[in-house]
């Protein structure tokens, strides 16, 4: 039988605040265990939570970017369960009245645009971190140690509609969301550090059937690639069970990258009964239009819009435009450079090629480099004027990045350029002697043959010849 896969994702994105969701403790990553804790986030009797204004604003900002409706009144709720990483015996979350509802995001899956619905965005607090002793994970551990530093960290939970139809779409959706949240500066979205986490609800149904099949929830996917692999493996497992006439059990399953399989967690726990009820210590959040409008203004141009503008305005291809907009500082660098040098496609080629390769290799961001838009513009102008060949320019670029010196100084210092007419003429004579057929073609009227000959001059001079001068001297020599 042919099956259709149905996936809905829950993304937990850590809001970029300094302090926790309901208390003034720091959320700094990598602090000493239990150094950022207080009576509120450890649930001491009598302590009272107060919501972090910035976290609410970041939640609203993300919701607006996801085309959600900001609810006129939302409330916090207690989600009750027992687990050692949860000191209060409940997590403060939002339940029937979330911060925002009903949005969408467009994703680009291998060239095809698809709209994924967003059910809701709500705010909640993170739990603490468990270190299991005697085993890598909870299964088989003899005991566990709890660090509450992360407990109370503000999270935005973004729930998608079950609109996703493949593992690939799920990975692309998550990456698109991560890029968007990073771009609008509400979350740094680092899956490997856990500031963006993803749980997936997966089910299969026979093609054409309307009702959903029984779903399983897959957890522990720590990269975009892992999401795709985990969901492919879970999809295959569902299919095998259904093909054999079996039934899928609704359960939570953990993905292991090592074995590329999911496994159920043996648990005697019956169906969850969280007994949600309104958090009495936190009054409702009722953002007025003025506040929402202020936050909307702070959004600026969203990445998908900017990408389209870069394509339209500068004639970039989709791929380079995408690379640029998903690194906001790089996109800003691009636009600043085009103000000084108007060939956008050339600037984009250098930024997405040489510069991005350098950044990846050195694990740096464009903002950390001494290279600034005026230098790149100057370099590109020197290529156009013929003072530098493309090959030499790459060397100069690396030197500018590494020394922070001016482009002109580096070109002068290197002495690499051959602009001496006598020396160039020697090389040209050799090229003419070695390429009699091409020379004859040129003299016979084939203008393009000159490009080949200039190329030979560049090659023979190991890229050091001044291309404009070589071009001119070559023409003279051939008349």
């Amino acid at each position: 039988m042919n099956y259709e896969t149905v996936i809905g994702l829950e993304i937990h994105a850590q809001a970029l605040t300094q302090s926790k969701m309901f208390c003034a403790c720091s959320i700094k990553f990598g602090s000493e265990p239990n150094s950022n804790i207080c009576p509120v986030c450890t649930g001491q009797p009598g302590s009272l939570p107060v919501a972090n204004k910035k976290a609410i604003e970041l939640g609203i900002k993300a919701a607006l970017a996801l085309n959600c409706k900001i609810e006129p009144s939302s409330i916090f709720a207690r989600k009750n369960y027992f687990y050692p990483d949860l000191p209060k015996g409940y997590q403060i979350s939002q339940y029937d009245k979330p911060l925002a509802t009903g949005g969408w995001v467009d994703i680009d899956v291998d060239g095809v645009t698809k709209r994924i619905g967003i059910t809701r965005l709500h705010l909640e607090e993170d739990a603490g971190k468990l270190v299991h002793v005697g085993a890598d994970r909870i299964m088989g551990a003899e005991e566990s140690l709890v660090d509450y530093n992360r407990g109370g960290t503000p999270l935005m939970e973004i729930v998608s509609e079950p609109d996703i139809r493949s593992a690939r779409e799920a990975a692309v959706y998550t990456e698109t969301l991560a890029n968007l949240l990073r771009y609008i500066e509400v979350c740094d979205a680092k899956m490997e550090e856990g500031s963006l986490r993803c749980d997936a609800n997966v089910s299969l149904r026979p093609v054409g059937q309307k009702e959903f099949g029984t779903k399983t929830e897959v957890k522990n996917m720590n990269s975009f690639k892992a999401i795709e692999k985990a969901l492919l493996s879970e999809e295959k497992r569902h299919e095998e069970v259904l093909e054999e006439g079996g039934k899928i059990t609704q359960e939570t399953r953990f993905y292991s990258e090592e074995t590329n399989t999911t496994s159920g967690m043996r648990s005697k726990e019956e169906a969850h009964d969280y007994r949600y009820f309104p958090e009495p210590d936190l009054p409702p959040i009722e953002p007025d239009d003025k506040w929402i409008e202020e936050i909307r203004q702070s959004l600026g141009e969203l990445p998908q819009k900017r990408r389209q503008r870069l394509i339209d305005q500068f004639g970039l291809n989709t791929e380079s435009a995408s690379i640029l907009v998903y690194d906001k500082p790089l996109a800003n660098f691009f636009e600043d450079t085009t103000k000084l040098y108007d060939k956008g496609a050339v600037v984009a080629n250098w930024l997405t090629g040489e510069v991005t390769a350098y950044l990846k290799e050195k694990k740096k961001t464009i903002e950390e480099l001494d290279l600034k838009p005026p230098q790149l513009a100057e370099l590109l102008k020197l290529i156009d004027e013929g003072t530098l060949s493309g090959k030499l320019a790459k060397g100069v670029l690396v030197k500018v990045i590494e020394t922070g010196k001016q482009v002109k100084d580096i070109v002068a210092e290197s002495g690499a350029q051959i602009s001496d007419q006598g020396e160039l003429n020697k090389i040209i004579a050799e090229v003419i002697a070695n390429n009699t057929k091409v020379v004859a073609d040129y003299k016979g009227g084939k203008e393009t043959a000159l490009t080949f000959l200039v190329g030979q001059v560049m090659k023979l001079s190991k890229g050091r010849a001044n291309p404009a001068l070589a071009n001119q001297l070559l023409k003279e020599a051939l008349t």
């Binding site: 003034a24 239990n34 207080c38 009245k97 270190v131 909870i138 660090d147 009054p283």
Partner: protein, 92 residues
């Protein structure tokens, strides 16, 4: 109204003896029964009330204030190792 005292005890992580179940079951049911008196009221025009006092948007600025008595909190840990709370095996 009858209450599933075993389920409630399980959710609250309470181990009840058979005698306690017999004792608390009817008591809890009686409390629920009393609350059911509210069903006699007409609440068709009353919005669900999450908070009794009409206040909203009570917020704090995003400012870090380190806690002065972390050690007191740690002192409340039933067991401690490496400045972490030590808890027994979670999953059997």
């Amino acid at each position: 109204m009858r209450i599933d005292v075993e389920h409630v005890a399980k959710l609250a992580r309470l181990g009840l003896t058979d005698e306690e179940k017999k004792l608390f079951g009817p008591q809890l049911s009686a409390i629920l029964g009393y609350a059911e008196n509210l069903n006699q009221l007409s609440t068709g025009n009353v919005l669900p009330t999450s908070h009794a006092i009409p206040i909203k948007n009570v917020l704090r600025e995003d400012k870090v204030i380190p806690c002065a008595n972390v050690d007191d909190i740690m002192a409340n840990a039933p067991d401690e190792a490496d400045h972490m709370f030590r808890v027994p095996r979670i999953v059997e």
